[in-house]
Symmetry: C2
Subunit: 326 residues, 2 copies
DNA sequence: ACTAGCGATGTTAGCGCAAACATAGGCGCG
DNA sequence: CGCGCCTATGTTTGCGCTAACATCGCTAGT
């Protein structure tokens, strides 16, 4: 920066100012500085700047897994909203609270200015660290009642409840429910709770053997269908609430020659092009994953500009997409 | 850190050392320091550490898009290999060289210690900046002959050539080729070049109207099939070399009642569970995307430990998966 | 004309750590 | 027994920038 300053015949301070707030220096001076920056190929050192100003523009994001295309949508939303001014650090928790804690610790050491979490469950230490850090935090995976700070998204409970009631209303009575493993996964837990609540609300019982946890994946969905049919032959509908499980189940049903939806209805969540393209097209839940990421980043940046705690909870809802599979 | 040092009755320097290299301090002292850290809830400031040592552990990664599950595999590979010691900054170029340049500039301002690029095309300024920065760089999207620094992956050219020759060997003569838009996408360009080279090698011509560029997506693949059949009714095979295009084309063929592979063969790339699950299962290319990310990060870290330029180019190859669609 | 006030720039100090060098005590060895 | 050497720790300095304050014309109001 000294070189640039010398070349532009100003002090380093003026260069620093021109970089941070171009309107704060004389137009002509600014042009000289810009020319000098170009000539020297100077790249500002944000590390030094951050240390001096005691803040960074870096935002941290922790998702359960980086491979999962669901989270990819949210990541893209966050990245787009942040723009070039806020670099993004990403880590995955590996679906484990301990993994999340490690990532939070690493992020805080980097003095991130804000954080987005896909979880609403955290270790006690995670909570303490975030609290002590005093940085804005947005939880996005599930619209929780008591967020650490802010939350944006949809209620997995409500969504699962709505889909279950839809099935009940259409006359299905032996409904299987398949979710991803519930351990350390509040979203899956909430969905199962919603599924059970819908039964209770309608005065129905859901047999425990109709509840299943299944790892992610297309084949896994097929196996889940097989398991449920074997376990409860009378099962007349299955709600597979994660990833591509429903598509896998539908393909398996087709392979077995089971009439969907007359022998067995299949419904899913996380709508995508594929669920519409298969035959029959899947009735499913659609979540605004990209928007959730986008809004999460917006809320973070708004808070950084103005520390007043205005919006704390933003419900972006869900849609129930009716197609032919139920 | 002063607080921790006071509590442990040592100097700040000893605390700093205990954090960076626990073996360099007395075991008992270390335990006192660890206890003091626990008691105070001290979180080291890596920003200050980076400024003082003039290096960070942060690795930068730029992919064309964050939503795309192909890149997600690579991202996970990079993240897993880096581990907790190397935070990861991610940006997307939006499939544009200018976007990549902006991301590189932002990363360099953050003084990243190494960078992974999914591109092998770059703006002149990008090259200059990376060169001046003097940090290790791994290009992963396409195994290029002249990497900026290091490269790992597979040859899109070879892979596309192999698949095309496979089709030719099986007697197909009017082969359509569909790729993602080629502008600013060297991977797609290389694949088309490989497709054409295979024809030339066998002394065949490929009609220009059999070449198509198509945006990503399942529906887009379906439209590509429709376009090619309308344009060249004699088309007897289509090689769709991107994303889920091939699956989309197969579903569209099924909808139209076209016999695959007898009326028309369909082959793809980037194998996934779905391509195996559809009917008929797709013949396709499989790329080691996770391994590419993993190795890229490994190469970066190896270089950081030992600046000798050993491995510059690592070919992880590809597989041609024969199934029933051709 | 005098001064308050403002825009543009400069000066000083320090952010929280780590590199480099300094120091102190213990040990073996001729 | 004195020397060198090694281990464990401390002191000094500065990384490259920015916050806070200082300075210096210049304009406008009375």
């Amino acid at each position: 920066m000294e070189d640039v300053a010398a070349l532009a015949a100003v002090s380093a301070m003026t260069v620093s100012r021109a970089l941070r707030d171009p309107t704060s220096v004389n137009t002509e001076t600014r042009h000289r500085i810009e020319a000098a920056i170009d000539a020297t190929g100077y790249v500002p050192n944000r590390i030094a700047g951050s240390l001096a100003s005691r803040r960074t523009n870096v935002v941290g994001l922790i998702v359960p897994s980086l491979r999962n295309s669901l989270f990819a949508e949210t990541i893209q939303g966050v990245s787009d909203a942040l723009g070039a001014h806020h670099p993004l650090m990403i880590a995955d928790s590996g679906y484990a609270l301990a993994g999340e804690e490690a990532a939070i610790r690493a992020f805080l050491a980097q003095r991130i200015c804000g954080i987005v979490l896909h979880n609403t469950q955290h270790t006690a230490r995670s909570r303490t660290m975030l609290d002590d850090a005093g940085i804005p935090c947005v939880e996005t995976g599930n619209l929780t009642e008591k967020p650490l700070d802010m939350t944006v998204g949809f209620s997995n409970y409500d969504a699962a409840c709505a889909m279950t009631e839809y099935l009940i209303a259409r006359g299905y009575r032996n409904i299987g429910f398949v979710s991803l493993p519930i351990r350390d996964n509040d979203r899956a837990a909430e969905r199962r709770a919603g599924f059970l609540a819908a039964h209770q609300r309608r005065g129905l019982n859901s047999a425990p053997e109709l509840l299943l946890e299944s790892p992610p994946g297309l084949r896994s969905g097929g196996r889940a269908l097989a398991t449920l049919i074997e376990r409860v032959p009378a099962v007349d509908a299955i709600f597979l609430s994660g990833d591509v499980l429903a598509t896998g189940a539908l393909l398996e049903a087709n392979r077995r020659g089971l009439d969907v939806p007359n022998r067995i209805a299949i419904v899913g969540s996380d709508d995508n092009e594929l669920q519409e393209a298969v035959s029959p097209p899947l009735t499913t839940l659609r979540f605004p994953r990209y928007q959730i990421g986008h809004q999460a980043a917006e809320m973070l940046m708004k808070r950084l500009r103005n520390p007043s705690r205005d919006i704390r909870r933003l419900d972006l809802g869900y849609e129930l997409i009716e197609r032919a599979s139920a």
